[in-house]
């Protein structure tokens, strides 16, 4: 039952994560005002979503203790994200290949 032993995350780690989240938020707001698409088409969206995913991961892993949690909890998280990915990728794959349809 050792996996149930509660791991108390120290305030120091919370403050560190908080600081990282603040820096990432300011970075993404600044990056949005720069025309990154000039370098590579769609780079603005990619940068914004990569930063958002970094922020979300920090929140899930440390604020929500997923990093320290039981394997079955991690399984539920992965399932949730995986089903979302199925929904997004298959549907967008469908839309992206409807060449006969004019919007």
């Amino acid at each position: 039952m050792s996996e149930h032993a509660e791991h108390v995350v120290s305030p120091k780690i919370y403050l560190l994560i908080f600081a990282a989240l603040m820096v990432l938020t300011v970075t993404t707001a600044w990056a949005a005002t720069v025309d990154l698409n000039a370098y590579f088409m769609g780079l603005n969206i990619i940068v914004a979503l990569v930063i958002a995913t970094c922020k979300a991961s920090l929140v899930v892993l440390f604020f929500m203790h997923a990093y320290y949690s039981a394997k079955r909890t991690k399984l539920i998280i992965i399932c949730g994200v995986f089903w979302l990915a199925i929904m997004l990728f298959l549907t967008m794959g469908d839309y992206a290949t409807r060449s006969w349809e004019v919007h």
Partner: protein, 218 residues
Amino acid sequence: MHRTGELYGQFQTLEQQKASATLGMWIFLATEILFFGGLFLTYTINRQAYPDVFADASKTLSLPLGTINTLVLIASSLTMAMAVWSAEVGKKKLIPLFLVLTLILGSIFLFIKGIEYHDKYVEHHIPGLPFQFEPGSSVATNAHAELFFSLYFGMTGLHAMHMVVGVGLLIWLLRQSLKGRFTPDYNTPIENVGLYWHFVDIVWIYLYPLLYLIDRHK
């Protein structure tokens, strides 16, 4: 009925009971991913279909207010995490303090959201009410901008509704914590409300770039 740290009949140990509660909360959050996921999917499809109008409509949102709200919500996640920590280490007096801070930050978020909604009302950007995107916009542009704002209000509205529920839960926790209910052995309610609060934070972490940021450079 819900007594502090009592072991229910179907569990063998308190640890097992707590692990089950945590697992149940995560399963609920997994269904919430799908709940919001449908809206994110609808947004993606329509943004791809009408990229130019969506970009113009996105730029009418206030970047400063959106950014401030993101920072406020992240700060509220920190205070929520600190409330959970206070309960875990048995600092009983700190629990209500951090809960109140979370409550205040959550309310600031909702207040700023209200200002933004009011701005949209003044600009005639609320679908269903007399809607005019820009003076002289064509019928098609108006229709597609209305689609953007329907999604904007749908997504941020559902998010704000979750915030309101969270505020209600915080008030409940605050009452319980003032009665001294939470100890290092029994803090499942704080921990699970914390998980919910952080989840709602994550939804905003994605709403912010998708609605406010990605077309800002155009």
